[in-house]
């Protein structure tokens, strides 16, 4: 009998706990009615437990009977409270299935080249440079002559040119914008000039007939090679990270002298040598130099009074290195599967 009594007490407790949990889930009248049928109806759980009272020994009956009465009062009380709450509308709607998909909107993307360019621009703006632009169709004078490429000079072969007329051509570099800026403004000048350029070169994974450059120009009294180094290294550290090594290598551009190529530690392999850096551990990232006096002469600046530096870099190359893109043509195919990655 003790066992039965214990089990009666346990069953009363279980029913009480279940009812307490169920009533919390009742959100509408249908559910409330369901609750009533489950617990409070004539064949409900509470009534069934009262039926079992007969089986309890007479000694135990008063105590179990008391517990049963308490259970009925509890369940009825919760039922009444819920009914009132429903009538008053104070219960929120049923929780939804939040795992269902949301209503998407179209998400756009900026081309990786303009994104890279934006970053470059913001650094140079903070270094006190403004931004200028110029036409993609240029004349021979601005693209070559004024930049100290003599006529019939092999230096012109460094840049394979698309010609449009006797003098008209697609610019092969952004340097003609230097000339246009200096023709318009007197020193001091501190400006960067981004834009598209064109070269009549074979199309493959490494080269395309059209690409982008950023050109820079700074002209004032007393500008030196030393300042060129300081400014460009400041840019390089901001753009590529403060820890890397760099070196300036002498080279030749007709429009600057002395001229240099800047190399940084290959950040793909950390300088140990890999395919990207052709096993050298170094990456060439920028060409620069002091503006050639002949260039100043062609725009009417006095090279004895003013000195300056110029620099240029290819955006595609930088973006390829940064993102590990191995084919330059991807930039111009506009495959959504590519663009969406940026």
């Amino acid at each position: 009998m003790i066992i039965l009594q214990t089990s009666m007490k346990a069953r009363i407790e279980q029913t009480r706990a279940r009812a307490a949990a169920d009533i919390d889930n009742v959100r509408n009248s249908a559910q409330l009615e369901e609750f009533r049928i489950t617990y409070l109806a004539r064949k409900g759980e509470v009534a069934s437990l009262f039926e079992l009272l007969k089986t309890v020994s007479p000694e135990e009956r008063p105590s179990i009977g008391k517990s049963l009465n308490e259970l009925r009062t509890f369940v009825q009380g919760r039922y009444d409270d819920r009914q009132k709450a429903l009538a008053a509308g104070s219960l929120g709607p049923a929780p939804a299935d939040f795992t269902l998909p949301g209503r998407d909107r179209f998400v756009g993307s900026q081309h990786p080249l303009t994104r890279t360019l934006d970053e470059i621009k913001s650094i140079f703006l903070s270094l006190g440079f403004s931004i200028a632009d110029g036409p993609e169709i240029e004349d021979d004078y601005h693209n070559f002559g004024a930049l100290n490429f003599p006529p019939d000079h092999p230096a012109r072969d460094m840049q394979d040119t698309f010609f449009l007329s006797r003098t008209g051509l697609l610019r092969t570099h952004t340097s003609p914008v230097q000339i246009r800026v200096m023709e318009e403004h007197s020193p001091p000048v501190r400006v960067i000039m981004p834009g598209k350029v064109y070269r009549n070169e074979a199309i493959n994974a490494r080269s395309y007939c059209m690409f982008h450059q950023v050109e820079g120009l700074c002209v004032d009294k007393g500008v030196s090679f030393s300042e060129l180094k300081g400014t460009l290294i400041s840019f390089i550290k901001q753009f590529y990270g403060p820890g890397l090594k760099y070196k300036f290598r002498p080279t030749f551009f007709p429009f600057t002298e002395p001229s240099a190529d800047i190399y940084i530690t290959c950040f793909i392999c950390g300088g140990t040598g890999c395919r990207t850096c052709k096993m050298s551990g170094w990456l060439e990232i920028l060409g620069c130099g002091m503006v050639h006096p002949n260039v100043f002469r062609s725009v009417g600046y006095d090279p004895e009074r003013f000195t300056g530096y110029a620099f240029g870099m290819g955006i595609e190359r930088i973006a390829m290195l940064r993102h590990g893109i191995d084919d330059i043509r991807l930039f111009f195919e506009n495959d959504l599967r590519f663009l969406q990655q940026f």
């Binding site: 998909p101 209503r103 998407d104 909107r105 179209f106 998400v107 756009g108 993307s109 303009t114 403004s130 036409p135 993609e136 169709i137 004349d139 003599p150 019939d152 000079h153 092999p154 230096a155 460094m158 698309f162 010609f163 449009l164 007329s165 697609l170 403004h185 001091p188 000048v189 400006v191 598209k196 064109y198 009549n200 007939c209 059209m210 007393g222 090679f225 030393s226 300042e227 180094k229 300081g230 400014t231 070196k247 300036f248 290598r249 002498p250 080279t251 030749f252 002298e257 002395p258 001229s259 240099a260 002091m290 006096p293 000195t307 930039f331 111009f332 506009n334 495959d335 959504l336 969406q340």
Partner: protein
């Protein structure tokens, strides 16, 4: 250009390992692109002597050979018919990579392993010329000269115990296109000058003038023409050392005379040419310009039509060489040649370049002359070549040189201000340091007062023409990496260079609206370029017909991008591009460059679904109203209020059902559906919508002025008009705005209805109107008056009736 380490060491001693040499010269500006150990290919190959040849016990065609390779004797199974005892042969040992496999159709290399051939173990392989990649002969083994030393590595025997450097020479430094030139640069590193070979010549007593006369009729393009003559040479193969040197730099040996002239060019940098004297008519050389149109066959057998201005070397009757570019077939050295005329001249660089470009010929000689040879180089070149020809081909050197050199080019003298060096570089170099840097380059600098220097520049340094060129040399020798880094920019600008930021604002707005930025090729085919209607710009030297014109609109590029994406099953696309379009400016001035117009545009393209798919939402394809909405939102985002759309119907051009977008009175662009004809060009089936604007016109927005926030409440009235079905909503709204006057704050169209309730050929358009005054709270009477006025005006001007006011 390829430079050999052993060749350099004839002029200068250095102990740097090849990689270090390459690195340090690269940091001086002479770029080393590659370093190659030439013998690498023949590692594991040795010279062997065949001791004994016996028949293979199990195969008729094979023999079993005992081959001594010095340290050991190998048993080698050989299938060659020509193997016999006593031969010196190339032997591949186990583990060596045989360059070409005779039994492979592609001749792929293979690694030799120890194998048993028909029961006899072969410990190596005697190779054929083909297998060694030394020639085409695959029929038998390569039998070497008896002088070959047993056990010697094959690479050594072949003269490949050397290092080849590939250098990339910038166009300003033709003096680097030679071994002596590179040796001079090494001299800067090691602080010594290179030693040139001392030339010793034995001339006979017969003067050259007795046989040869030279007349230069074009001294402007031929400032110097010098010649020597050797009689009685015996043409034949060059000695081993000469062949090795030429092979090492990738040149094929011809015969002793031609090889010597090439050798001297690669040594000194001065191109030369050798003529067969007996083929020179009249014993005469004349330098003159070509008669345009003359046919001339060069010694490579190709016929050319000579252009105007081409400078020619001629004999008494005809042209015998294109000056400084290539000799003629009619006077070249052959096996029968006995008397040789050697030419070393100096030609005007621009003349050589023009002719070479026009003829499309580029030779070792033309590359050097067009960059600028040393006008004082011919003398050494002639003497050195004569010395070597006598050594290699015998013969007698006639006395003297014919040297037509009326205006001797003297070393340039330039003033250099050490103060200027420091100002430009940002250094504090002493005068002595500057002098020392220049001395390493053989530039003598002496003081000329006020601290200035007068520098004497060797004539081979054609690139040094003004002070700045000397400053560069000082910077280079001192070392760029030793120049301090400073950032003392004094940023003080009276003007601001304003490139418009319109493109940036447009880009941000469109990316924010869910468009992908594209960049397409500006070069398109003629058909696409002509679609837009303006005259396209043609490229004179296009890569191919698909890229022969410049785009006149951004649309074709984006349609091509759409087509490509469709092929990847991506059909919903929202693209934009910001870029330039081009056209010919007939009679106009052009935007920057005469005869050419260039505009910056933005193009927006939509295709596929109007919204991303969602289970609850009905799918719908984009239509013109989606594009209109995007355009309106976009213009608002970039700060433009005053614009309107004007319908125009076009059947030509890129679109149909188009609307022109007018901003403050000028047409800034269009929006519409891409026309069927254009769509067909890209094989597109679905509707595509496009909008394209001139960026410059979007830029003309005024700075926005703040309007004080309203202090009185707005009053709202809904109204519907029944109008003719053909009346456009735009016209109705225009009339409503006019009639309501300045109290009207906003107009929102909320319903369009056609059906029985409004009658046939009619429609109802419903608006929600908001009224607001900035001076007072609006009374019912004031609004009623405005509404009545509106109803009256709509009735009178458009015949519309009030459907019901709420």
């Amino acid at each position: 250009m390829r430079i050999l380490q052993s060749w350099l060491k004839k002029y200068i001693t250095f102990r740097m390992p090849p990689a270090q040499l390459a690195d340090r010269l690269t940091m001086l500006g002479l770029e080393f692109e590659g370093v190659e150990r030439l013998g690498e290919k023949y590692e594991g190959f040795a010279i062997g002597e065949v001791r004994q040849v016996s028949p293979h016990p199990n195969a008729d065609r094979l023999s079993v050979c005992e081959v001594n390779i010095g340290e050991e004797t190998l048993t080698v199974v050989c299938g060659a018919p020509n193997v016999s005892p006593g031969q010196k042969v190339p032997v591949a040992t186990v583990g060596a990579t045989v360059p070409q496999n005779q039994h492979d159709p592609d001749g792929k290399p293979f690694v030799l392993s120890r194998t048993s051939i028909r029961g006899v173990e072969s410990q190596g392989m005697i190779c054929s010329e083909y297998e060694l990649d030394l020639g085409k002969d695959a029929d038998g083994i390569l039998v070497l000269d008896q002088s070959a030393r047993v056990g010697q590595p094959l690479a050594d025997y072949l003269g490949l115990d050397d290092v080849g450097f590939d250098i990339e020479v910038t166009p300003n430094r033709p003096d680097w296109l030679s071994h002596i030139g590179v040796a001079r640069e090494i001299g800067v590193l090691v602080g010594r000058k290179p030693k040139l070979p001392a030339v010793r010549l034995r001339e006979c007593t017969t003067p050259i003038r007795k046989f040869l006369t030279v007349q230069v009729e074009d001294p402007e393009n031929c400032p110097r023409f010098a010649a020597r003559m050797i009689r009685g040479v015996r043409i034949g193969p060059s000695p081993q050392w000469l062949q090795k040197a030429l092979r090492g730099v990738g040149l094929r040996p011809h015969n002793n005379v031609v090889d010597v002239s090439n050798y001297v060019m690669l040594e000194s940098g001065h191109p030369m040419h050798a003529f067969d004297y007996r083929l020179l008519k009249g014993g005469t050389i004349r330098v003159r310009q070509a008669m345009p149109g003359t046919r001339f066959v060069t010694l490579d057998g190709k016929a050319h039509t000579l252009p105007e201005g081409a400078v020619m070397v001629c004999d008494a009757e005809r042209e015998v060489a294109i000056a400084g570019i290539m000799g003629g077939a009619n006077s070249e050295i052959s096996d029968e040649t006995t008397d040789v005329v050697l030419e070393a001249a100096y030609w005007s660089p621009s003349s050589i370049r023009r002719t070479a470009k026009t003829l499309g010929i580029s030779t070792d000689a033309s590359q050097r002359f067009e960059r600028g040879a040393d006008p004082n180089g011919p003398r050494y070149a002639l003497d050195r070549a004569a010395e070597l020809i006598l050594e290699c081909a015998g013969g007698t050197l006639l006395k003297g040189i014919i040297d037509v050199y009326p205006k001797k080019v003297r070393p340039r003298k330039l003033r250099l201000r050490p103060a200027r060096v420091n100002a430009l570089l940002g250094t504090t170099l002493s005068r002595a340091k500057v002098i020392a840097c220049l001395r390493l380059l053989d530039i003598k600098a002496v003081g000329i007062g006020q601290g200035d220097l007068l520098c004497t520049v060797p004539t081979y340094r054609v690139d040094i023409q003004q002070e700045i060129d000397l400053i560069e040399e000082v910077a280079r020798v001192h070392g760029y990496d030793r120049i301090e880094e400073k950032t003392g920019a004094n940023i003080d600008f009276s003007h601001r260079l304003t490139s418009s930021d319109t493109a940036d604002r447009v880009r941000r707005a469109l990316v924010g609206s869910g468009f992908h930025e594209a960049i397409t090729n500006s070069m398109v085919n003629g058909e696409l370029a002509r679609q837009e209607g303006s005259t396209p710009v043609r490229i004179l030297n296009p890569q191919n017909a698909e890229m022969a014109f410049l785009r006149t609109s951004l649309l074709p590029g984006l349609l091509e991008a759409l087509r490509k994406n469709l092929s990847h099953d991506i059909s919903t696309l929202r693209f934009f591009e910001i870029g330039h379009v081009f056209s010919l400016a007939a009679g106009e001035k052009g935007s920057f460059v005469e005869n050419f117009n260039e505009l910056e545009r933005v193009c927006i393209l939509m295709a596929g679904l109007s919204e991303p798919p969602h289970w609850e939402r009905q799918r719908r394809s984009v239509d013109i109203f989606d594009m209109k909405g995007e355009v309106a939102g976009f213009l608002k985002k970039i700060g433009l209020d005053k614009w309107r759309l004007i319908s125009y119907s076009t059947s030509d051009g890129l679109t149909d059902n188009s609307l022109a977008v007018e901003i403050e009175g000028s047409t800034a662009g269009y929006l519409g559906r891409v026309g069927d004809r254009t769509r067909d060009l890209f094989d597109l089936k679905e509707d595509v919508f496009v909008a394209e604007f001139d960026l410059a016109l979007l830029e003309r927005h005024a700075t926005r002025r703040y309007v004080p926030l309203p202090r009185y409440p707005k009053v709202k009235r809904d109204v519907a008009f029944v109008v003719d079905r053909d009346l456009s909503a735009g016209d109705l709204e225009h009339v409503i705005r006019e009639a309501c006057g300045e109290l009207l704050y906003s107009v929102e169209l909320f319903d369009v209805y056609e059906g029985d309730a409004v009658g046939e050929r009619k429609k109802s358009i419903a608006y929600s109107l908001e009224f607001l005054s900035r001076e007072r709270t609006l009374t019912d009477q004031a609004i009623e008056a405005a509404m009545q006025e509106t109803v009256r005006t709509v009735r009178e001007r458009l015949g519309g009736e009030l459907r019901g006011a709420h």
